[in-house]
Structures are given as structure tokens and as C-alpha cells.
């Protein structure tokens, strides 16, 4: 049963207050995009064993969507941050590097 800290209201709540929203930082492909890009956008997922970036909504709370960096094998949460960004802030990347040197995720490292 995870604990997550919502970066908007500052509440550290248990998993049941939140709703998991899948992989973070997906780039939307709309009309005019190639079949491959569109398939990838809708279906292909990193699904890593280790560092993962994902979306959560504080549904029984302030209602805001946010991002979390989490390890899928230890469930360690490296940090949470705003949803209004297309990539993790440096501070989060640094926090991960400190714990998991040499990590990569998509193009991030």
C-alpha cells in the first residue's frame, strides 16, 4: 500500500486516495501522424523493471493530476512533481541518480 505526496496540496496520503494513470510524458499524436507513431502513443509502454515515471490523480483529495518517479521492483518513490511538464525536473533526475546511478528511461537519464 503506497504512500504518495501530492505536489499540489502537499498531502501525503495512502494509495487509496489516489488513482493511477499509467505512463507519464506520453507525447500525443493526432491526425496526420504515422500509424507507427500513433500506435506507439496509444499502446507501447516502457514497463521497466526499475525506475518508472507515471501519472497519478489525487482523486479523493485536491483532484489534481501529478507525476511520480517510482521503482517498480522496490516501490521506492523518488519524488513527485507537477503534471504541467513534458519531462521530469532536474531535481527529480538528480534524486534518482543518487539512488540508481546509471539509470535511464526513454531518452531521460
Amino acid at each position: 500500500m503506497l504512500i504518495l505526496t501530492c505536489p499540489y496540496c502537499g498531502v501525503s496520503g495512502e494509495e487509496t486516495e489516489f488513482h493511477a494513470g499509467g505512463e507519464a510524458h506520453l507525447k500525443r499524436f493526432g491526425p496526420g501522424s504515422s500509424d507507427a507513431d500513433f500506435e506507439s502513443y496509444l499502446f507501447h509502454r516502457e514497463n521497466p523493471k526499475g525506475v518508472h515515471f507515471e501519472r497519478w490523480r489525487h482523486v479523493s483529495g485536491c483532484g489534481k493530476w501529478f507525476h511520480a518517479a517510482r521503482c517498480t521492483t522496490t516501490l521506492e518513490v523518488f519524488g513527485t512533481y507537477t503534471a504541467q511538464t513534458s519531462e521530469p525536473p532536474q531535481s527529480i533526475k538528480d534524486a534518482i541518480t543518487a539512488k540508481r546511478p546509471g539509470w535511464t528511461w526513454r531518452d531521460f537519464a
Binding site: C9, V11, G13, G61, C62, G63
Partner: protein, 188 residues
Amino acid sequence: MSDPVSALNRVTFDGFVKVEEMGPRGMITLRGDHALPEVKNAATGVAGVNFPGQRECRVVEERGLAWMSPDELLVMVPHGEADTAVASMESDLDGTHSLAVNVSDARAVFRIIGPGAREVLAKLCPVDLSPEAFVPGTIRRTRAAQVPVAFWMVEEDVFELVCFRSVAAYVFDLLKTAAIPGSEVGYF
């Protein structure tokens, strides 16, 4: 206009705490950037209390402001004043991107009164309700069993809890069950 009727029409229960449905309460959802003075002024103007900080809740009698999210406030006024309060805020906010909606009738308000109040809520909500962790002046949005709620303390041993109108009976039943004499936990 016939008298407004709240979800459970002021039903009460006496257990090891007292549970009361509070009847109609004027509530307005105000969405807007808290940083904007227009938003601040519009809200404090109708509520007559200071603007709340993150997760703060300032309530005096039936008026008050609660911080719901970085761009949402819950504005409380007497039920009869809600529409005029919305109108006055809308005029204050003319030209400012914002949204004020009267949600008075979409909600039910309960009071949980007595020394066991923290305990009753702690049976239903995954929240640290110990005196050192939860004090008057803060609002917590969370879930009670299976529905979303928000609550704050009016004073020690007195909580106000807000839920959606449609589940008022469910929440009241939960509170009753949690407050059955003999089921005191004796933790706080």
C-alpha cells in the same frame, strides 16, 4: 420559493459522539488563480474571513473559506445568500479568468461533536487524526470509507464534514455505526 430542504433534513444521532446533519449551507466553488488579488478580494469580500493558505480552512459561524486546491476555493455563506454571493463575486471577477458555481445543494454537511470525534473519523478515513497532527484551521479532503469527503475542526472535539448530497445517508450511516457506544477505541 418553498423552504430549502437539505439531504437528511437535520437528522441527528447520539452515540459516544453526537452526529448532526446541519441543514442547508451556502457553498460556492470558486475556481481561479489564488495569486490574483481579484480572486482574493472576491472571496474574502463575500466570506468575511481572511484568505486561507494551503489546506487552511477559516470558518466563522456560517461564513468561511476553505482551500480546496491551488485553483479552487470553497466559499461558505448562509444558504439564502449563495446566489447573490455568486453574482457579486462574478462582478468582482469580471474580466478575470475564473468560475464561481453555487454548489450549496450538491452537498450535505455534518457535525461530529464530542471527545470521541477524532476516533469516529479515524475509523473511516485514512488520515492521521491525532491532536498533534490535526488541529482546528486545517481542512482535509480524503475519503470516508468509499466516498470522497472533506472535513475540518470548528474547535476541539467538533468536526464539520462535507460530502455529496446523494451519499448523505450512506455517510450518516457510517458515522452512526462508528459512534455506537461500546466501540470506543481509546487511542487518542
